[in-house]
Amino acid sequence: MDEKKKVILRLENICQSYVVQNGVKDAVENVSFEIYDNEFLVILGPGHCGKTVLMNMIAGLEKPVGGRIFLDGEEIHGSDRRIGMVFQSMNLMPWRTVMGNVEFGLELAGVKKAERRAVAQKYIDLVGLQGFENSYPHELSGGMKQRVGIARAYTNNPQILLMDEPFGALDAQTRYAMEEEVLRIWGQEKRTIIFVTNNIEEAVFLADRIVLLSNCPATVKQIYDLNGLPKPRNMTDPEFLRIRSEVSANTDLAL
């Protein structure tokens, strides 16, 4: 990576808590870190540690009880056009075709039909779904659905793409294939990606840097810089395995 890394997103002392039956449950506690322009940042943490909550706050789906989020130097409140999201549960609209889902964001933004079709088609092609434009989500496999989710997020041309455990629901083989796909797509269309996972191998395979979160409430445990490990990475490479076990030893067990 180049030397003059530009900070695009900064989280400052982010806290989130919920009122539960008897008291208050802290989900995220004092999380601060910076994300550089066009980097592939993976947020790694045990199950139910508050990773999704953190994502939702960046996406503007919920408001933090404390702390601030800065995008390009200015504080943001709520959702922002410059931030796109690929959801864990895909969230495709079953009443829309692949094309209808992918162009949804542009449609909401009021882009003319011909223009948004062209842009959507570009990303449908990019994720390898040409020929399925008129299919409905229920006709697609899990991997294909998530490709639609990725294309939909890309189509709005966000600076930052949030991916919240996008491959969590896929089987192992499809998951490996999609991990390579996401790197290929990222290589062709560079964006800042914040990728959430609880899978250590996936994290080490994808990340420029890994932010390791603790068990609930989530705090930043450690940040690993993996830029020294060239991509594409080989999951059986000794260096890969060394980093993997180093991260693994440091990761809290999910309860």
């Binding site: 996406a59 503007g60 789906l61 959702s79 922002d80 056009r81 931030i83 796109g84 999201m85 959801f87 549960s89 969230n91 609209m93 079953p94 009443w95 829309r96 949804f104 964001g105 449609e107 909401l108 933004a109 409905y136 989500p137 229920h138 709005n156």
Partner: protein, 271 residues
């Protein structure tokens, strides 16, 4: 032929047999009904036989009642429910969206609506007659009162149960409140709305017949009350069979419309 092919063709044959069976079964049930009917009518209770009903139906075309054949009476009834459904599917859907989507509107109007739908449509007959006399309009009004609730309830349920995950997509894309309603909530509620379309259609068809039996000079319900008054049981049964057939056709038509308008709800064959 290889073993695999043999197995495949065996499966194919089994599937074909099954599909034939599914076509035969409905015919079997109709034949059973006719057999039971024959048995019941031969016991000498004055219950008309299928042949008598058939003759009466044919006669209805030769010698119309009140200048209308059976088809004419069916069309009169259909026109009444058509007008009522037109209102249901515009105002009813709009009202369902209003109280399903806007919590304040629900708090304001929900209790009134719940009280309204608890009143059986026929209970309105005295008031409606008092206000509007006995023309076409009061009959359509009774049908509306009898079928409005079923569409409003379904639309309301669909609109208040919009999955959060679809709305989240809207939030991430900065949807305006209007877009959240028109582009996310309403389309996601379309299958519930169609359930309302189906139930309101069948409710309207039932209520129009009841309304016609109480005071009309045309319509299928009128045929039945006419048959009752003149002790013409075959005419009563003709009316009942016509009601059953038209009701079944209406159900098929609305189901077909749903499949055309909401192609994503097409599952495998649903029968």
């Amino acid at each position: 032929m290889s073993k695999k092919q043999e197995m495949l063709s065996a499966a194919e044959i089994r599937e074909k047999r099954l599909s034939v069976l599914y076509k035969i079964l409905p015919v079997v049930s109709v034949l059973l009904l006719v057999a039971l009917w024959l048995a019941a009518s031969s016991s000498g209770t004055g219950f008309p036989s299928p042949a008598q009903v058939w003759d009466r139906t044919v006669q209805l075309f030769v010698k119309p009642v009140k200048k209308l054949t059976l088809i004419g009476h069916v069309l009169i009834s259909l026109r009444r429910i058509g007008l009522a459904l037109l209102f249901d599917w515009t105002f009813g859907i709009a009202f369902g969206v209003l109280i399903g989507w806007f919590p304040r509107a629900k708090a304001l109007l929900g209790p009134l609506f719940n009280a309204f739908r608890a009143i059986p449509p026929l209970a309105w007959i005295p008031l409606i007659t008092l206000w509007f006399g006995i023309g076409e309009f009061p009959k359509v009004l009774i049908v509306i009162f009898g079928s409005l609730a079923s569409i409003v309830v379904n639309v309301q349920a669909g609109m208040s149960n919009v999955e959060k995950m679809y709305l989240d997509v809207g939030t991430v894309f900065n949807a305006t409140p209007r877009q959240r309603l028109m582009k996310i909530a309403f389309p996601s509620a379309l299958d519930a709305i169609f359930a309302g379309v189906r139930t309101s259609t069948s409710a309207a068809w039932m209520v129009v017949l009841a309304a016609e039996m109480l005071g009309a000079n045309a319509g299928v319900g009128f045929l039945i009350s006419r048959g009752m008054d003149s002790l013409d049981m075959p005419l009563v049964l003709t009316g009942m069979v016509a009601i059953g057939i038209v009701g079944a056709i209406l159900a098929v038509v609305t189901q077909f419309a749903e499949r055309m308008i909401c192609p994503w709800t097409r599952r495998k064959k649903s029968y």
